[in-house]
């Protein structure tokens, strides 16, 4: 009679339940206790070059800001004629507009229902308002100190870079705020230029580079990735070249920044993936939902 329960315990399999009385000591741990543990289920394996390719959005935006500042510098110094910039900008805008439709064969336009008449109207509104307000913009910040304007512009451009929609799904992203900050900065900087025509062309250029250029980029990246890489490289080198003509130190620093963003950061991302330990299993995570404040008082 005494041996009976002992033999039974050998036969009885351990169950991971608490509601049944089992012939095991309290601190008994079965081999099958953690057999359902899984690690890093949702961890993604990144390819290095794919990450580098994705980081080109950041590169593009950095280069846009850089190009804008360089162009403003040239205008402020009087090295760049506003007519020339306006002509170039107009030509590139037209080319971009044609490209924008050609790349996907007009599918995007059909999908969004945007007519050419609406495009023309928007363009007219831009041009008219900017041209009408350019004398106001010229005298707007006359009495304000230049340093204040610079500080404000830097602050706004940084904000533009921070809030820009790089494709990440985060709460901080707000493309509206980002664009508005860029326009604010461009208005501030344009009010420092010598004439109202300069201000008008500067603001127009800001619209082109901060509002229209990212739209074209997005479409290029989605449809023709190869040409996108080429465009990005070209853009980066032109920005570097422009910066180099102003200050060599700045160019070197900017090049280092670009390199670190495009090569070093992806490398570290992939290296750090090895240290990922994310456990999953058939358990509920302990989650305290009750209001604990009554225990605290």
């Amino acid at each position: 009679m005494c041996a009976q329960p002992v033999t039974n315990t050998k036969e009885v399999k351990w169950q991971k339940v608490l509601y049944e009385r089992q012939p095991f000591p309290d601190n008994y741990v079965d081999r099958r206790f953690l057999e359902e543990l899984r690690k890093n289920i949702h961890a993604r394996k990144y390819q290095y070059w794919a990450v580098v390719f994705e980081s080109s959005v950041v590169i593009q935006q950095l280069c846009s800001v850089c190009v804008f500042v360089v162009i403003w510098w040239y205008m402020d110094e009087g090295l760049l004629a506003p007519h020339w910039l306006f002509g170039t900008g107009l030509a590139s805008s037209l080319i971009g507009y044609v490209l924008f439709d050609l790349i996907d064969g007009g599918e995007g336009r059909k999908k969004s229902g945007q007519t050419r008449w609406a495009d023309l109207k928007s363009a007219l509104v831009f041009i008219t308002f900017t041209y009408g307000f350019s004398p106001v913009l010229k005298t707007l910040t006359e009495s304000v100190s230049t340093d204040t304007i610079y500080a404000m512009s830097v602050f706004m451009l940084l904000g533009h870079l921070i809030f820009f929609d790089y494709g990440a799904n985060a709460a901080i992203v707000s493309s509206t705020l980002s664009l508005n900050m860029a326009i604010f900065a461009s208005v501030c900087l344009a009010s420092r230029l010598p004439r109202s025509l300069h201000a008008f062309i500067m603001v127009t250029f800001a619209i082109q580079i901060f509002a229209l250029w990212p739209m074209l980029q997005k479409k290029l990246k989605a449809c023709t990735p190869r040409s996108y890489v080429g465009v990005t490289l070209l853009f980066a080198f032109s920005a570097l070249g422009g910066l180099l003509s102003i200050s060599a130190v700045g160019a070197i620093l900017f090049a280092l920044l670009l390199m670190s963003v495009s090569c070093l950061c992806p490398f570290y991302l992939i290296r750090l993936q090895l240290f990922k330990e994310n456990i999953h299993g058939p358990w509920d995570e302990a989650e305290i939902k009750e209001d604990l404040s009554r225990f605290l008082s």
Binding site: S122, V125, F126, F129, T130, F133, V136, L137, T139, L140, T141, E142, S143, V144, S145, S174, T176, L177, L179, N180, I183, F184, V187, C188, V203, I207, A211
Partner: protein, 738 residues
């Protein structure tokens, strides 16, 4: 309940006789209305059920045994329950009050008597609160009303005929009242009364004609009605018309409050017109109008020049502010042009200014307030440019602020959801974003300029408004100051008496009321002397209910209660003025008329002091009109801080007591254990005073009364009164008042 005997002070000098009055059973109080010497027919002169309450014995010479016995025997004749026996001996040195009952007292405290003196004439003249309660519904009303003394005061007020018709020597009925003040009649007053009726009728019809014209439909049209609402002269004229209509209305005032309002209005109108006539005579004498007109145009020019300077300063870089130069110039030139227009207008007007002022000056005969309102309107017209500047600046600033707030939401990619009253996120088009941000930037950088202009012109406008406000304040003061009431409050405060709320019937578990005597420092003289001079003795009846025992000396200084009213000269006058103002303030705060009760004055309410009960002050306790007024003996040489020596200061004494007869067949038995001549009881009886009634304000607690010796004990409190040392104002078991 404590038996309260209300005794008119005008009767204290009357000869011995019967106490005629009314017994109020609900309050267990006897209201003595008169003392009848010869008992002929007590006529029911008033609607009050007058009865013989007891006897009054004033022994001028040695007490006559026969009279005393006769008075005692009267109790059996009149069969009043309880039977009061008031006795005053030898020129008022001391008093006794006995109440005899046939049944033994059932409720605790029924064996106590409180003798309250009141001034009959002042009760009669307390015109704000005439008797409103009818005799039949009186019992219910008094129990329902919180004012426990209401019935008492009501009784006194309705016995006016008894008071007025009686003379000292008048036929067989000899009443104690001998003064005829209060009945003021003269031929002039009578004539004025006769004439006022037709005059009022005539003037009222004239006024109704004027108001009918002013109510004409033409004046309701747009520009006229707008002007009428904006010009303060029109407002003032309208108000004066209402006042005059109120004054000359032939309807009789329904209640004393309305009468008071009428009187106030009359006084204010008279004062107004008098001041206006003074102004008129000043203005039109010695060609002052011409000087004024000559001075007015340069002043307006000067103001305009100063404004030009101010604008030029604003168009520069005022105070080193970073203004937008272009906007600054535009605004400055706009305003400068305005001023230029204004100056030319003034110069166009300058030949006519004198005539205008002359005619305006004539309006002062309508009253000073009308002239002041006209002045206010003239100021408004002369500073119209400042008003315009203010409106422009404010409108510009308001537009900027509104635009900035909505564009700031656009800047953040949000919008205001009108339906849900909240800020929602919204996706804007590219061109919307661009234009919004452009405008936002421009408005943001232009904001300081507009804000500065707004600030400067608002300050200017505020200056003008402050001047106009001062004028309007003066006008309102003249319009609405209750001058008649104030004068009454200063000279005849009892006429504004309210219904007494103090001395309410109290619960059985509460300690009895007691007199609290203010300290010597507060009175300015020793207490016995101050009492004789008519000091105000706060009766701590109500505060005893709350269990509060601290003396209210801390609250006395702010409004001067507890100070001796007998301070001579300007001292007393200033004290009265301050008290009147205080009462006025309190009345304004609580929205009711002056809270001044007859004999009992409510000092502060619980809202003011945070105490749960009101504090009563015996206001007209003139310590009985002693004749002759006893003075402190020269024994101490004017040094009053020392304990009063009982041998040399014959002070009036009052002792109240209740005699209780156990067998109903023998009404007058010897005073048993309930004899209430306090201060003597502890000595005459074996047992100490009841622990329920702590011997509160005795020698240790009140330094002013500290030196008083307790009187030696009489062998029989009922018949042989205590030694005449010390004033017993109000006595209860275990308490020495003084």
């Amino acid at each position: 309940m404590v038996l309260k005997a209300f005794f008119p002070t005008c009767c204290v000098s009357a000869d011995s006789g019967l106490l005629v009055g009314r017994w109020v059973p609900e309050q267990s109080s006897a209201v003595v209305l008169a003392v009848k010497q010869l008992l002929a027919q007590v006529r029911q002169a008033s609607q009050v059920g007058v009865a013989v309450l007891g006897t009054w014995c004033h022994c001028r010479q040695e007490p006559e045994e026969s009279l005393g016995r006769f008075l005692e025997g009267l109790g059996a004749v009149f069969l009043h329950e309880p039977w009061l026996r008031l006795c005053r001996e030898r020129g008022g040195t001391f008093w006794s009050c006995e109440a005899t009952r046939r049944q033994a007292p059932t409720a605790p405290g029924e064996d106590q008597v409180m003798l309250v003196f009141y001034d009959q004439r002042q009760v009669l003249l307390s015109q704000l609160h005439p008797p409103t309660v009818l005799p039949d519904c009186q019992a219910g009303a008094t129990t329902a009303s919180t004012g426990g003394l209401a019935a008492v005061f009501d009784t006194v007020a309705r016995s006016e005929v008894l008071f007025r018709s009686d003379r000292f020597d008048e036929g067989p009925v000899r009443l104690s009242h001998w003064q005829s003040e209060g009945v003021e009649a003269s031929i002039l007053a009578e004539l004025a009364k006769r004439a006022s009726g037709p005059v009022c009728l005539l003037l009222a019809s004239l006024l109704s004609l004027v108001s009918a014209v002013s109510a004409c439909r033409v004046f309701k049209l747009w520009p006229l009605s707008f002007l009428g609402s904006k010009l303060s002269t029109c407002e003032q004229l309208r108000r004066r018309l209402e006042h005059l209509t109120l004054i000359f209305s032939t309807r009789k005032a329904e209640n004393p409050a309305q009468l008071m309002r009428k009187a106030n209005t009359v006084v204010s109108v008279l004062l107004d017109v008098a001041l206006g006539l003074m102004l008129l005579s000043w203005l039109h004498g010695r060609s002052r109008i011409g000087h004024l007109a000559d001075a007015l145009v340069p002043v307006a020019d000067h103001v305009a020049e100063e404004l030009q300077h101010l604008l030029q300063w604003l168009m520069g870089a005022p105070a080193g502010l970073k203004m937008n130069r272009a906007l600054d110039q535009v605004l400055g030139r706009f305003f400068l042009y305005h001023i230029h227009l204004w100056i030319s207008y003034i110069h166009l007007m300058s030949p006519f200014v004198e005539h205008i002022l002359w005619h305006v000056g004539l309006s002062a005969c309508l009253g000073l307030t009308v002239a002041l309102s006209l002045l206010s309107d003239i100021i408004a017209l002369l500073t119209f440019h400042i008003y315009c500047f203010y409106v422009y600046g404010a409108r510009l600033y308001c537009m900027k602020i509104h635009g900035l707030s909505s564009l700031w939401r656009l800047f953040r990619g949000k919008k205001w959801n009108v339906l849900r009253q909240r800020v929602d996120s919204c996706s804007y088009d590219l061109d919307q974003l661009f234009i919004g941000t452009l405008l936002f930037t421009i408005l943001l950088f232009l904001l300081p300029t507009a804000a500065l202009y707004y600030l400067v012109f608002t300050l200017l406008r505020l200056l003008v408004v402050a001047v106009q406000g001062l004028i309007h304040l003066l006008v309102d003061l003249i319009n609405s100051l209750p001058l008649y009431s104030l004068g009454l409050r200063l000279c005849r405060p009892y006429r504004l008496a309210d219904k007494p709320t103090a001395l309410q019937p109290r619960g059985a578990n509460l300690p009895p009321p007691q007199l609290w005597l203010p300290s010597q420092a507060l009175l300015g003289r020793p207490v016995p002397q101050a009492v004789l001079w008519g000091a105000h003795l706060p009766l701590e009846a109500e505060r005893g209910q709350a269990g509060l025992r601290e003396p209210p000396a801390c609250l006395a200084p702010p409004h001067g209660h507890g100070q001796p009213s007998a301070l001579p000269g300007w001292h007393q006058l200033s004290w009265r003025v301050s008290r009147a103002l205080w009462t006025l303030l309190c009345a304004l705060e609580h929205g009711r008329p002056c809270y001044h009760t007859l004999g009992l004055e409510v000092v502060g309410s619980e809202q003011m002091w945070g105490w749960p009960a009101r504090l009563a002050v015996l206001r007209h306790w003139h310590c009985l009109p002693w004749d002759p007024l006893p003075t402190c003996c020269g024994h101490h040489g004017g040094e009053h801080s020392s304990p009063r020596c009982p041998e040399h200061c014959p002070m009036p004494t009052l002792c109240t007591q209740v005699q209780r007869a156990h067998p109903p067949q023998q009404p007058q038995v010897e005073g048993c254990g309930s004899a209430l001549a306090v201060g003597v009881e502890g000595l005459s009886q074996d047992e100490p005073p009841s622990p329920r009634h702590p011997p509160a304000p005795s020698a240790e607690q009140h330094p002013a009364s500290g030196g008083l010796k307790q009187s030696p004990s009489p062998s029989r409190p009922g018949t042989s009164l205590p030694e005449p040392h010390g004033v017993y104002l109000l006595t209860f078991p275990g308490e020495v008042a003084l």
